[in-house]
Point group: C2
């Protein structure tokens, strides 16, 4: 099979970690008899430096023409990087928001689970982490506050800023369907998170989710307020299977959930639209402080590539081979700095990529 | 001194816990020679049952006429209580939002700290909790998404809901000043939390906070994105002193922070305006499942009364006497069910109130 992949190395550690994922993918192609065709796309700071904007229309066209996009990470140090002197719509993150919208990537899947081998890195007490946990945050990614109209004006000398949070029932329905579909393949539980005691958008959210639930009598639905969810993720993460929520709540809760696992260098994500197309990226950021030092952990990106094999290309066996390679390397005691612990073998980013590719 | 206090027992465990705080306050008055004049106010479900609305104008007038308001908790089980069949603006929580706005209570102070005696209840690993932590969330309480215009419409048969997030520089400045003032009396650190990489309101927030910071060269200011803050609260809560943030982020982060302490039954809060007036309430909710069973922990409400003595009445010695009584009772091993552990003595809500009052 021919896999047409657009790669966005991006900023910070992005290029290093994408290079390792590509090593692993090349090995998969070799072993399973596939052919990979790659196009590289500039985005974020890397694009600003060349084109003056974080994403060109040409880059979007290249992404659209591919089957899937594999991304590293975007952005720099907001306090020191010159990119953050630019007007907001020209900064690195604007490229990320733009590509999500342009490719209609409304469904962001962020798995958060405890790696048995890395249980020691979990910030929670053993009493809580013992139960293990394995959830998936289904975040709506192209609506709500992050894509609403916004403006800053000055009235009688007083500055005033307005952002708007809009959801239509169609936007809610399509992401809810994704959540219920995924829950069916997992533990059959959806927790829909909102602030229905205050927001109109949350009340609409809740009622549309309940409509969708009727088509999934085999999936158990419950509702939780966002403030309570922020507590429950710390108190008892094992209670969750699929968390379904809107863009901003999903941004906050998925980061909290990934930190709760203690394995943020290991967590992948997929951003999907209504076709097989997807953009795959690690859950973590661009870590400009360690960029270019061969210190980054490429595993989240490698696992994002595995998600790509599974969701876009339906290559389940190949995806499993990648996930198995990760398990093996961890079981053999290899660790990058962020997940290092006593008795393990410390390796750099590139070496970790080699080890993973060798185990395919 | 004469203390004119309006009491809002509210719903669920509210009446029980407020009764204990009143016991303690009566003892303080007796010992220190003050006089307390109380008026009771119905709010939330309790008001709906009598007046059909969660807060009457008369109730607001009574609150305004008092020096301070002591509140229990508001609301019931959203799945089963008939209050939640009412239109949104008639539900219990609408009363809470209305009183905050009517009394201009724009500054919500939520301390979150680890009680040494209750360190065992902290959900974090000893490695992290060992350092101890003691932060205060300064949440803007009368602006932003929770008070913006909202509406739900149907266009071409498709429902659409809109909420708006508005901040003026004046609203930001006055809460920032409160945060810097408080930080000065604490560890001198303000972490301002926003989503300035996406929202206009956050960018205005950041620039106004920076302007205010110029008047406080002795206070250290840093900015943090809300998604990162949700992670840092779990990873390293000891890094924080004062967290300054807008209404919705504050709602989510303050609940997360209080759960991280493991002592949510112990955490008080104050909602202040520009005068000495304040509304004081526990950080936790109305726990309808244990209401009326003498099982609730009244300590958060008792400590909220201590905040009232300190902030509204400038009665520092009296406030300390209350806080000291809490420390003593804990040191003597008395616990309500929520904080019970081996070797301690289990007591009910009312007994805990008696024990605290006796130690004043
Ligand atoms: C960079 C930023 C705009 C982005 C977001 O909040 O969507 C990021 O935090 C993420 O979660 O992918
Ligand atoms: C009841 C609700 C409206 C309220 C809020 O979110 O402000 C509560 O969660 C709080 O934090 O005081």
């Amino acid at each position: 099979m021919k896999l047409e992949i657009a790669c966005i190395p991006g900023d910070g550690i992005g290029p290093e970690i994408v290079a390792q994922a590509n090593k692993v993918l090349d090995q998969v192609a070799k072993k399973f008899g596939h052919e990979i065709e790659r196009k590289e796309i500039l985005m974020g700071g890397a694009s600003i430096d060349v084109h003056g904007v974080p994403l060109t229309d040409e880059a979007i066209a290249t992404a659209k023409a591919a089957d899937a996009v594999l991304m590293g990470s975007i952005g720099g140090d907001t306090n020191t990087s010159p990119w953050y002197k630019l007007p907001p719509e020209k900064r690195p993150e604007a490229g990320l928001l733009k590509i999500r919208k342009a490719l209609n990537l409304f469904a962001n899947l962020r798995p958060a689970y405890l790696y048995p081998e890395l249980a020691g890195a979990c910030p929670l007490k053993e009493e809580i982490s013992r139960a293990g946990f394995d959830m998936l945050i289904m975040r709506e990614l192209t609506g709500g506050l992050y894509f609403g109209e916004r403006h800053t004006t000055t009235e009688n000398g007083v500055r005033k800023a307005v952002d708007t949070l809009t959801y239509t029932e169609e936007e809610i329905r399509r992401i809810a369907i994704k959540a219920f579909d995924v829950a069916r393949k997992r533990k059959g539980k959806v927790t829909s998170v909102d602030k229905a005691n205050v927001l109109d958008s949350s009340r609409l959210w809740r009622s549309v989710v309940e409509e969708v639930a009727k088509d999934y009598p085999d999936v158990e639905l419950s509702h939780m307020l966002v403030d309570n969810c922020a507590m429950q993720l710390v108190k008892d993460p094992a209670q969750f299977d699929v968390i379904l929520t809107e863009n901003m709540f999903g941004d906050i809760l998925s980061d909290e959930a990934s930190m709760v696992t203690g394995s943020i260098g290991m967590l992948s994500s997929a951003s999907l639209n209504d076709t097989k197309f997807g953009l795959y990226e690690p859950s973590h950021g661009s870590a400009p402080d360690i960029a270019g030092k061969d210190l980054a952990n490429p595993i989240a990106t490698v696992l994002s590539a595995a998600m790509m094999l599974r969701y876009t290309f339906d290559l389940d066996k190949e995806a499993e081979a990648v996930e198995e390679a990760v398990r093996k390397v961890l079981a053999e005691g290899y660790r990058t700095g962020d997940i290092m612990s006593e008795g393990c073998t410390l390796v750099g980013c590139s070496k970790m990529g080699d080890l993973l590719a060798e185990r395919i």
